[in-house]
Amino acid sequence: MRLVPSVEQTGFATTLHDMLSAARVPEAADSWAEGNHGPGRQLWTQLADLGVTALAIPARHGGLDATPIDLVIAAEELGHHAVPGPIPETLATVPTLLAALTETVPGGEAERWLSELAAGRALATLTAPPWLPFAVDADAAELVLLVDGDAVGTARRGTVHSSMDRTRRLYEVESAGPVEICPAVGRALDLGALVCAAQLLGAGRALLEAAVAHARTRVQFGRAIGGFQAVQQRLADVAVGLEFARPLVYAAAVTLTPRDVSAAKVACSDAANRAARAALQVHGAIGYTQEHGLGRWVTKVRALSLSWGAPADHRARVMAELTKGATWN
């Protein structure tokens, strides 16, 4: 049991961070929001070059067979930079479903899609009610799935809805072909929820960093506002929330139990939303503008916390697990 990243894993996170810092993510996100996925897809190609899209894919299909810990480390960095696109879907859930399907239906379409995803040539998305009533970014994804119970099939796009996160377009979908029974649905969705939790953690960290940077330079009443106790107290609470959400993410990556995945999702949603409110409050009106860019994280954090199982769903699941008589370790 290790609940902290190894030196190699920390190095991977740093590489990813450096790449994304140089990659003009805000511009790509703006284009994505306007329906132009080109710059965003270029970003995803760069992610594929670093192996991010291959993490959850078995080696025999061109993937890296990495651990869930590797996956949450990457996802945290993608959340940190508010990368647009169907991240839990493409990185975790769809590969897991496809990998399971290659076992039951060898030589089928699933194998081809796994190679495409590993190479970063395709994006994937899905609906899986009740956690995922909509397929995010189905207009940008080459592969759209519909999960219903343990049945998985391809789907076509229906009505589109907009999100408060301008980069997310949410599609209703309908079945577009035959379905297969997939034994990995539970694990695939849990892995997606966990990746979403890690994204939230990274986004929360970005919000705290932005608030701290602003508080150190913004002068009001003759001093940097970061020196005011009211600001310090609030940002310290944000730091505490993030500090104690992270171990739950790593623990869930080790166990992948429903209880631990749900606990991580709840804690990361709460910590990230608290960070969003504090960051907005510290920034004042400037943070409320599209131009400033803080809103990219503020809106994404709220959208992600409602997605992949809203907090109430995950809390209900934690209690169900706690009270079903299992041991409590």
Binding site: M164, R277, G287, L306, G309
Partner: protein, 367 residues
């Protein structure tokens, strides 16, 4: 609750309810910050004014019916319960008008208030500046004395409605040697005058909301100074109280939102969110009862009120998002309300500043 209203109040409420039922738009108007929305909202205001409902508390000569404050509260309750449109003239109606009634000249009132009530003239506020967020006294925009008036230069920001409004009001530094609160003058100016540039600011969800105003040597006649030159801070403070307090955030708005939330909860009643929905309703009801009580009591420190409604608004909308769950993301009425609510603890003096004012002015803690 038996509000125990007198016959005049009951008659007034029935009139408003009936008129709104017959006249309020069924479908939402286009966004007020678009040309189409501008026109639709002005037309709506003219209908309100035609029914003498635009500004019920104002004297009749300016377009009101000199109704008592209770009637204003009742009007707001009915207006929000009926889902009435955003008041395009709200900056003028609720911020500038009280200042004019307190500090303006008779000529100013006669000239400015009637077209304001009919939305023939829509007003924007021009309080903030890039370097003076919550620190209003740090204002740098200048008013230079000139023949028969003043010349304004500088930059204002976070000006709501400025993209569609006709005129604006704000504070300008008329005595550059004076420090902070001194040497400021309260001025009104034409947004279409030479030297004025308005640049819209998009909000975090991509929707328009505020604007920047750039002023380059803009002439304003003496007739458009409110109060004494150099005395603008004191004049503005009476308006600031109105902004923080009731007028921009009528209890009826929160009561209506709480009722919508209860109804939405009832569609799929989840006991896990019940208590938070109840708390939102209790908060709205507390704010409403506080407003009714205030009719018979000495004025409350406006900071208390601003803290209450702004935090209530955020928690009410957070609760709504949790009630809606994954479907909240695609429901613009609640997500838009949520994002709007997030601005509440920031504008008109951040809540951190308001808490300091409560601590010092109400509780008597040291500065």
């Amino acid at each position: 609750m038996n509000l125990d209203l007198d016959p005049a109040a009951l008659a007034f409420r029935d009139e408003v309810r009936g008129w709104l039922a017959a006249n309020a738009p069924r479908d939402p108007l286009p966004s007020v910050d678009t040309p189409a929305g501008d026109a639709a909202h002005r037309a709506w205001e003219q209908r309100l004014a035609g029914a003498v409902l635009a500004v019920v508390s104002w004297p009749g000569r300016y377009g009101g019916r000199a109704a008592p404050p209770l009637h204003t509260l009742l009007f707001e309750e009915e207006y929000h319960a009926a889902g009435g449109p955003v008041r395009i003239g709200q900056n003028g109606l609720f911020l500038l008008a009280p200042t004019l009634l307190a500090h303006g000249t008779q000529e100013q009132r006669d000239r400015i208030l009637p077209p304001m009530a009919r939305a023939d003239e829509v007003w924007a506020q021009a309080w903030s500046e890039p370097e003076a967020g919550s620190d209003l006294a740090a204002i740098r925009s200048r008013a230079h004395r000139t023949d028969g008036g003043w010349r304004l230069s500088g930059q204002k920001t976070w000006s709501s409605r400025a993209t569609v409004a006709d005129r604006a009001f704000g504070l300008f530094r008329s005595d550059p040697a004076a420090e902070r609160h001194r040497g400021l003058t309260y001025l009104m100016f034409d947004l279409r005058a030479e030297g004025v540039t308005v640049r819209p600011i998009r909000q975090l969800d991509g929707n328009p909301g505020f604007a920047e105003i750039f002023l380059d040597d803009v002439f304003v006649p003496d007739a458009d100074v409110i109060g004494t030159p150099g005395d603008g801070w004191r004049v503005a403070m009476s308006t600031a109280g109105h902004e923080r307090g009731l007028t921009l955030r009528a209890p009826g708005r929160f009561v209506a939102a709480a009722h919508r939330l209860v109804s939405r909860w009832q569609e799929q009643p989840d006991p896990a969110t019940r208590d938070r929905v109840v708390d939102a309703w209790i908060g709205a009801q507390a704010y409403r009862m506080h407003a009714f009580a205030a009719l018979d009591a000495p004025p409350t420190e406006a900071s208390l009120t601003k803290l209450f409604w702004s935090e209530l608004d955020v928690s009410l909308h957070e609760t709504a998002l949790d009630v809606l769950g994954p479907h909240a993301e695609t429901d613009p009425s609640w997500t838009g309300g949520y994002l709007f609510a997030l601005a509440g603890p920031i504008y008109a003096g951040t809540n951190e500043i308001q808490r300091g004012l409560v601590a010092q002015r109400v509780l008597g803690l040291p500065r």
